[in-house]
Subunit: 235 residues, 4 copies
Amino acid sequence: MGKHLSDNGYSRVTLRMGRYARKVSTGPAFKRLPRAVREQQMLDSAVRVFSRRGYHGASMDEIAEVAGISKPMVYAYLGTKEELFVACLHRESTRMMEAIAGAAAPDLPADERLWRGLRAFFGFVGAHRDGWAVLYRQARAEQPFARELTAMRARLVEVVAGMLDHALRAEGREVAGTELEVVAYALVGASESLADWLADHPEADPEKTATRMMNVAWLGAAQLLLGITWHPPEP
Amino acid sequence: MGKHLSDNGYSRVTLRMGRYARKVSTGPAFKRLPRAVREQQMLDSAVRVFSRRGYHGASMDEIAEVAGISKPMVYAYLGTKEELFVACLHRESTRMMEAIAGAAAPDLPADERLWRGLRAFFGFVGAHRDGWAVLYRQARAEQPFARELTAMRARLVEVVAGMLDHALRAEGREVAGTELEVVAYALVGASESLADWLADHPEADPEKTATRMMNVAWLGAAQLLLGITWHPPEP
Amino acid sequence: MGKHLSDNGYSRVTLRMGRYARKVSTGPAFKRLPRAVREQQMLDSAVRVFSRRGYHGASMDEIAEVAGISKPMVYAYLGTKEELFVACLHRESTRMMEAIAGAAAPDLPADERLWRGLRAFFGFVGAHRDGWAVLYRQARAEQPFARELTAMRARLVEVVAGMLDHALRAEGREVAGTELEVVAYALVGASESLADWLADHPEADPEKTATRMMNVAWLGAAQLLLGITWHPPEP
Amino acid sequence: MGKHLSDNGYSRVTLRMGRYARKVSTGPAFKRLPRAVREQQMLDSAVRVFSRRGYHGASMDEIAEVAGISKPMVYAYLGTKEELFVACLHRESTRMMEAIAGAAAPDLPADERLWRGLRAFFGFVGAHRDGWAVLYRQARAEQPFARELTAMRARLVEVVAGMLDHALRAEGREVAGTELEVVAYALVGASESLADWLADHPEADPEKTATRMMNVAWLGAAQLLLGITWHPPEP
DNA sequence: TATGAATGAGAGTTCATTCAT
DNA sequence: GATGAATGAACTCTCATTCAT
């Protein structure tokens, strides 16, 4: 039962009998930390627990315990379970978007940008498999977080569509916004799927995965650039 | 709380007196139905409720109520909530696979097959938006169903990879199995994403969505057929 | 799950899915049996299931299944679960009392009678370990059956007390009824305990257990016959 | 159904409106008590309820209500129903063993020790009829507790066997361990039976019951001391 | 600031028991 | 006579959330 003792350096031991733990703060340094630090501790724990157990499987009890803090503090600092989850989502997605944006500088040629973006993306997912699991897999399934998630995905789609558009214009071509978006949406979806797969395979290499996705994406996109399209056969 | 009165013709209502409920079977025709029929009713309700509320949000109580029977019958016939969900998954995924397989006859040319397969797929999703939500969105998020889901996705990937392989060989070319699979995986992922999007947009046209996906897929694949690949730049 | 298929020759197979079994009657001979026979089948099954699972652990479902009969029949023939249990109790205790009474003929000398009675008792327990478990262990714990049990024990006590009294009178001595009864009660209690032990040790030899009990009982009783008693020391 | 209102001074009442209940904390003093205190309250209630209704008949709801707290606290502090029962068993049996051990000092002559031990035993049972009912009658019937119970009984048997052995050696005699143990087992069984009887007869006098048991035990044992044994007749 | 103590509400699951065929 | 279908009623257990100290 003592399965989730804090393994992150925060100090708090749990002697079990019944369900409520007999909690004992240990170690010399159990300081009153400034709020900001505590909040990060909590988010760290929350992300870890959410990704280990899923949104529903996670209990506020465990999150607090892993954070080395009492439950009321969690509520005081970060609010409801739902709010807490949103906070996690927020932090992680911001980090991810920053990683991608930082890598894919807007002044590079389109394929270079796409490649760097993908590499950053899969690199991030690979390095934060936990975060990704929270970010996407959970959020996708639970209505309350759909909005947050949709927003984030929209940003990605926009970035990708922008890239394509840029490349097309460079070629002197132009494609309807909707069409572009759908293609972008599909590419983002494909990336998500591969990211899922990456998160599930700890031994997999992010770089290689990025290369694979690049093949699919770029080659697919290239067609578009060449103005080739497919039409359904007449019935 | 009288939120989920049965809206499917099955008759069982919940009368409320103050805070409390009392279930009453109503209507003249409350026949004892044979097991097979009841099971389908239950699965229908379960699919609906699961997709409306999500796996965790769904309660066995509501499922039973919507099905127009008492909870114990659900347990008697279909077992645990988890088992029930798996049963839904099973039925829906079987139906879907059958729809696809029925459409994409193996003796057609590759692009024709792919197109028909996609059309069937999006057609199915569009027609069973409920089922799709159960099938994928929920299952992806909950560990216990991952296996079932993975298996199904694997079947899809296999089909797609087979298609590509077939087309390649017709062109006298050959590609390593792994590579094919990753491409297939990405395409399946892209389709899933568009399906998600379709499920969320009741007004969207399945046929058009299929066309879009076909563009991405076939054109991307076409490159592969031509032997064009992309490689990461030397650092 | 198919753990308790009937292993007593009655023919009924159970295909599981969900909780309700899909029951199928098999074999050529699934006759409509006369009531008396059916009742014995049921009691057999009930005794077995009760002793395997305990009164509460036993379910009417399982009892019916083991009996190879549908639940409503059990209710029709033997009534409520409680009544069914009492019926078991009754049958088993009657059998046991008959075994004992048959062995300990009243015209034998006291020690001979006691010995034969004990031998019969432990023999019976050893041969019907199931029955004993139902009879005593369960019944002792559940209030509703206390009366039945008490009655039966009373009969035993009476028999034993009678024996002692007879022996005493033969020696020209006499002891107050109450005293006799308490001694008898204690001896019965000791026997029950050893019976419990015997029921739990399948390899144990009833005859030897009887001998041991005889030693305790008869030697203890012998003192009584000699008029020796113990008194608490003056404070 | 308002059958189990708290009758021990703890304050928590169940108000009924029609068929339904609403729990309300009453009284002016509804303090937050320290864990240790609450735990004892809970154990008190649990012992009482278990002995009144039996293990299965007892509901966690009632136990909580009688203890004057909410159900979750019971789970928080003492765990599952099963664990709770074991905790009761533990506390009561420890108390009892202490009572006995405290009375029967090892340096007394054997008969004196036996007498004091029995007096303490029946005294305890008489004073804690509730506890005894929990301790033995329930535990005997339910498999999960058999081990705990067996362990405790084994301790008793050991004590008694030790006593006998001691006395025998003082007489310069020696008896095989197994034989001693069986005799001890039987004596313990006899005591348990009388204890059962005592628990069922509120008016009965523990001291007198102890005397009676002493008669049976000591006199029976005395034979052993004299080297007299009984053998089955040759067939 | 920080926490132990406390709880309302509800979910899944099981069972004895009975109709209706 | 026999059974599949059906259900009311509990019961255990968990969890997010909040006082009171």
